[in-house]
């Protein structure tokens, strides 16, 4: 997508307390290693030439692993530039839980998956749901509440959302 959309996505996501790191396929391993707090769990990434296999990330976690994990790594996409949201598609390996239980969610996003608006991203998601995908989450920043008298980040969901943006994918 356009560089405008990517710049908007980055700005809006940061407004919502997500952190964004722009990286490339060749620099991905270093970028992930820098932000990976162990123990970590994950689901396999869906991008060519990028893999979690060489990282200390449990790809077939038990419930105990999930419970203990500090970080969960999943692929995400599409993303919504106007709100800084990423879409987490579910899968049979438990991407929903991996992105939800650990304190930090590391979301790996291809730049080509950044859509300008919610309605354009939703049109894409709508097709995927019609084709068999069973759930998605539009996630914007960390989980949040104001029920205890002031905003608090990190409630039932992650306290940190860190996006690794693959500029060449």
């Amino acid at each position: 997508m356009s560089s405008d959309s990517i710049a908007t996505f980055q700005r809006r996501a940061v407004d919502r307390r997500a952190t964004i790191e722009r990286t490339t396929v060749s620099e991905f391993d270093g970028a992930l290693a820098d932000c990976l707090k162990e123990p970590a769990v994950g689901v396999p990434l869906a991008f060519d030439d990028v893999s979690l296999a060489d990282h200390p990330v449990e790809l077939d976690p038990s419930p105990a692993d999930l419970d203990a994990a500090a970080t969960g790594v999943t692929p995400v996409g599409p993303a919504v530039a106007e709100y800084g949201s990423v879409v987490i598609p579910s899968d049979e390996r438990g991407a929903e839980a991996v992105s939800l239980y650990p304190e930090t969610h590391v979301a790996v996003l291809a730049a080509s998956d950044v859509y300008p608006t919610l309605s354009t991203a939703l049109a894409e998601v709508s097709e995927e749901l019609a084709e068999g995908l069973t759930s998605v989450v539009f996630a914007t920043g960390p989980s949040a509440t104001a029920d205890m008298g002031a905003p608090v980040y990190g409630v039932h969901g992650p306290a940190k959302l860190h996006v690794l943006l693959l500029e060449d994918r």
Binding site: P63, S135, G154, H156
Partner: protein, 745 residues
């Protein structure tokens, strides 16, 4: 809570006084933040109006096609592998969920926030089977511990301060180190709730939207608990009002763009989940913690309970149908001056709260369920502009008030007011409502018999009787009637028609301007004439605003018909209609469309103008501004409060612009409402609430930078409220431009 009989005035007064002292401050602090956020986001977004129009259109179509959408959704959910149950009423829904839970031998259920489950009293039904039910939304968790009811449909524990929550946790959990910060409280709740989620046999959620195309369930949340509840246990039950079905996933777009801004001024909530259950995400069996991989997604079970409980009948009801467009964002509560002061424990029924609660409670349980709080809607119309689907919430409140009036048993007080109040309403109508609703007739009588009427109104005996019988609070000043009505003054004065007039106009002589505040009518006539307008002031009659605000729709329709009979010929003869009182103009432009046959309603609406809107137009079209008065030395600084409906009609700016053009320095009020709202603040049970609402205005206008400014207001009831709130007197803005120097003000 609803009871068999409506509360008495004394009970209402006592409840409101208690809430103003206890829950009010926390409610106001929280709700005002949401309200300010909505204004900000609505202004920031480029497409707010386009989204609102699209959302409205989609809802209209969806409710029109509802039976067909229910069928399509059912087919889709079943094809996906889930089960759909259409529950006729609350008991039916409870029994179904209970049976699913007992069939699964469930011991515990975790819930995310669902007002629909509150509506059917689901928790109690499950607990009666020995099933442990845990609310995982932090606010609902607080209420469950405190054994209290929600005070707001979106933020249910809004009435509790952080300190109260900390005390509650300490008391219930025997906490060693006292919890203080919001972070500590959140962390404490999170840890306890996580254990409940891990143990749970069933996850129970509501639904913000359902889409028929794919059998998709949309959940809009911030905390992440709904995600956990929906996917961690292998059984997911969702309970939803049947009205939440939209045709397709793509139709969600305007709603998702609006609901965060409308609810709390967020751009979008942290999570928008779209589930097409049963989902492929494996359930997680924390009882087998070391088994690699999670559970088998094939074991998942999904039940969708679609609740009718009166909704399909509401769909057939021309006046309540719009309630079904409600997306439960809370904007009508947040924008409501009365709600801000007392919250949903006063302004709400058994389940729902805020302006739209009248539609829900009356639709689900009958009008009686709204009897105790329906009068808290003053019809100011602020919520209509706040509502993301543009529901005419004041109209729903008016209709239900009318149904309540008609449903009453014949009362004791009929003879006291019947003679003075010729209306179309049933016997048994509350005497206060009848009195206020017939203010036009009373005012005419008051003017004819002034000074007797004025003296009587000042006597303590008469005031005591008025308070006892009609509920008019003794602490209010009553209007002083002018023995010479405006129409008589106009008919007998020397002709002052300008040579070569630029326009011809009828000054609409509303009841107050005709019989009480005649000076502002005279000033308006002189102002228009000075700008070259040929003015007439014919006998027209009361607008119908007074009876409508009491829910007396038949009487209001009679008044509207008479007004249209009088004004339409004038309009056909080429005259514009100029209206001094903003609430009457709002009636012409809005409610007349419901009271009159189309054609006549549009004729009146399209040719009527607020006084300063009209003056602004004349000046824009070349009238000489110097014909109007400009401030005397030291008299230029004013503090201006425009009327609620004037603002929702977008007409505040015209007055400010005209005054500024004449050299006034105008500071405008930034409160939602002065608190008086027509007759509302006169009623003894609402007097204190009315004054509490007015405190915002008092503090702004007594602030040192405004304290010396002359106070100006466009609405007659605003002027009267300001006179109660402030030591200095308020005046209508027309007196500031009235060309007659030394005119009475």
């Amino acid at each position: 809570m609803s009871e068999d009989r409506p509360r008495s005035r004394a009970e209402t007064k006592a409840q409101l006084r208690d809430l103003l002292d206890t829950e009010g401050p926390a409610v106001e602090a929280n709700v005002s933040t949401f309200n300010a956020g909505r204004y900000r986001r609505y202004a920031e977004m480029e497409s707010t109006e386009a989204y609102r129009e699209a959302a409205r259109r989609i809802k209209e179509e969806a409710i029109e096609r509802l039976p067909e959408l229910v069928e399509e959704l059912t087919k889709q959910v079943e094809a996906n592998g889930g089960t759909v149950y259409l529950a006729d009423d609350a008991a039916d829904a409870r029994e179904y969920v209970r049976d699913v839970a007992t069939d699964r031998e469930a011991e515990s259920v975790v819930k995310s926030k669902t007002m629909t489950s509150e509506e059917v009293h689901l928790n109690a039904a499950l607990e009666a089977e020995g099933i442990e039910v845990t609310e995982t939304d932090l606010a609902e968790f607080v209420l469950q511990l405190a054994e209290e009811e929600p005070s707001h449909i979106v933020a249910p524990a809004i009435h509790k301060s952080r300190a109260e929550i900390a005390d509650l946790f300490s008391r219930v959990f025997d906490v060693e180190d006292p919890l203080e910060t919001p972070e500590e409280l959140t962390q404490f709740a999170r840890e306890r709730l996580l254990e409940r989620v891990k143990d749970a046999d069933i996850g129970l959620t509501g639904a913000n939207f359902l889409t028929a195309d794919t059998g998709t369930l949309a959940l809009i949340t911030n905390e992440g608990n709904a995600r956990k509840c929906a996917v961690t246990p292998d059984t997911h039950i969702a309970i939803s009002g049947v009205e939440k079905i939209l045709p397709s996933v793509r139709d969600l777009s305007p709603f998702l763009n609006l609901i965060g801004p409308a609810g709390a001024g967020q751009d979008i909530t942290a999570y928008v989940s779209l589930f097409k259950p049963p989902v492929a995400t494996p359930a997680i069996d924390f009882d087998a913690p070391d088994t690699p991989g999670f559970g088998d997604a094939d074991d998942r079970e999904f039940h969708l309970v679609l609740l009718d409980n009166g909704r399909l009948s509401m769909r057939e009801d021309d006046d309540l149908r719009e309630t079904l467009y409600c997306v439960r964002c809370g904007a009508c509560a947040n924008s409501c001056a009365n709600f801000q002061q007392v919250g949903g424990h006063a302004f709400g029924g058994e389940t729902y709260s805020g302006g739209i609660a009248t539609g829900w409670e009356a639709g689900i349980r009958g009008p009686g369920a709204a009897a105790d709080f329906n009068d808290l809607c003053t019809g100011c119309s602020r919520c209509v502009d706040a509502c993301p689907v543009k529901i005419d919430i004041p109209w729903i409140n008016t209709v239900v008030r009318d149904r309540l009036n008609r449903g009453d048993e014949p009362g004791r007080f009929d003879s006291l007011v019947d003679g003075l109040t010729p209306d179309e309403e049933p016997g048994g109508l509350d005497p206060g409502k009848r009195l206020f609703g017939n203010f036009g007739t009373l005012a005419k009588w008051g003017s004819r018999t002034a000074p007797v009427a004025n003296a009587l109104a000042d006597s303590s005996v008469a005031r005591a009787a008025l308070e006892r019988v009609a509920g008019i609070d003794r602490r209010r000043d009553l209007p002083t009637f002018d023995p010479e009505p405006l129409t008589e003054w106009f008919a007998t004065r020397p002709d002052a028609t300008p040579e070569d007039p630029v326009r011809e106009a009828v000054l609409y002589p509303d009841v107050y301007t005709t019989y009480v505040a005649t000076d502002r009518g005279k000033a308006a006539v002189r102002t228009l004439e000075a700008l070259g307008v040929d003015v007439t002031v014919p006998e027209v009659g009361a607008s119908g605003r007074a009876p409508l605000s009491q829910g007396m729709i038949a009487t209001a329709t009679d008044r509207a018909t008479a007004v249209a009979d009088a004004l339409c010929p004038e309009i056909r003869a080429g005259r514009d209609v100029v209206v001094v009182e903003p609430s009457d103009l709002a009636l012409f432009r809005r409610e007349y469309g419901k009271l009159l046959e189309s054609g006549r309603a549009e004729t009146v609406a399209d040719n009527s103008y607020e006084l300063f809107e009209y003056v602004f137009g004349l000046l824009e079209n070349g009238a000489d501004p110097d014909a109007l008065r400009s401030p005397a030395d030291g008299d230029a600084e004013i503090a201006y409060h425009s009327h609620c409906q004037q603002r929702t009609l977008g007409l505040e700016d015209h007055t400010v612009a005209v005054l500024e053009a004449r050299g006034y320095d105008v500071e405008t009020s930034d409160v939602e409402c002065c608190g008086m709202a027509g007759s509302f603040g006169y009623k003894s049970e609402y007097f204190e609430l009315s004054m509490a609402v007015g405190e915002g205005l008092t503090s702004q206008f007594t602030d040192p930078k405004n304290a010396d400014r002359r106070v100006v207001a466009s609405g007659i009831s605003c002027v009267e409220q300001l006179d109660s709130l402030l030591e200095r007197r308020a005046t209508h803005p027309v007196h500031l431009v009235d060309p007659l120097q030394g005119a009475v003000e």
